[in-house]
Symmetry: C2
Subunit: 174 residues, 2 copies
């Protein structure tokens, strides 16, 4: 533990603390898809998806404004949010890989609002972006859910420290 | 899959889609602590913690503005963010329980900025709130990390559909 006398840390020290802590934070894995202004599909694997409120149903996710999906997030209104099961591990890898390859193949179709919808995930939400909170070279997006449907259920796909994981029951619970 | 002709859904249908989807989304578990304006400790278990950017190191988390911690989040500057391991399951339960009981006991101490810091977690970050994005009765908080330290490592504590979980390796991953 540092003391008040030591808190004038350099930015590198804060960055290291940040990285070390998030290496110990696990996250569920989602995929966000949308269209660029020209109608071409874009999307990305996200570990930042979070519920914001139930009434109205709103969620948040974060992105870098240098990312390939940012122009679409900035200039269009609708997104599809996909919840992933462990069976979707390869899909998560594809959608975290090189942007030009993410929609090459038959793993998706066009859905509501012409959004690119990925096949065989555990749930899909269709949402309208209601706020783009930009700060430096990042943005936290707020979206309101307007529709959704479920696929087959599965254990939820997890991510920690550059590895995908699966869940197991917690010993001693209940 | 619904069609364009069916998207005029009632708010109840959107709410059900939202709930059903988030029941299939797993999350890592964190605890956010801070002080009320009067200096009394407040805090809560959060499944919304997410990285926003590395340079500068920033993160986000969400809260209801009806929550016991909101007055402190609105009116003070600093928060402590705790990453939890599976050994911290009971701590997560305490900090998600009745607000008056959350700091009764010897499971915490005073740290930087007089923040309430919980003992024996896997990592702690000290952060300064830089934005409070309020919408309806919720708020998405943006905070910049200024310090942090690590405890003993552990499997990350997970949460899905009102149950805590632990991770296991994904079958077939390289």
């Amino acid at each position: 533990m540092t003391t008040h006398a030591e808190i004038d840390l350099s930015s590198e020290q804060a960055l290291n603390a940040f990285r070390n802590a998030f290496q110990r934070h696990s996250a569920g894995v989602a995929i966000i898809t949308l269209n660029n202004v020209d109608g071409s599909p874009v999307g990305f694997t996200a570990t930042s998806l979070a519920s914001l409120s139930a009434r109205p149903p709103m969620l948040t996710f974060n992105t870098a404004t240098t990312a390939s999906s940012w122009p679409g997030l900035r200039d269009t209104d609708h997104v599809a949010i996909h919840m992933l099961g462990v069976r979707n591990h390869k899909l998560a890898t594809i959608m975290a890989g090189p942007a030009p390859q993410r929609f090459v193949g038959d793993h998706w179709h066009r859905g509501e609002f012409n959004l690119p919808v990925l096949d065989d995930v555990t749930a899909v939400l269709v949402a309208k972006i209601v706020a783009r909170n930009e700060i430096n070279q990042a943005a936290s997006i707020v979206a309101e859910v307007i529709d959704g449907f479920q696929g087959n259920d599965d254990d939820g796909l997890l991510y920690r420290e550059r590895r995908y994981l699966a869940p197991r029951p917690l010993d001693g619970q209940d």
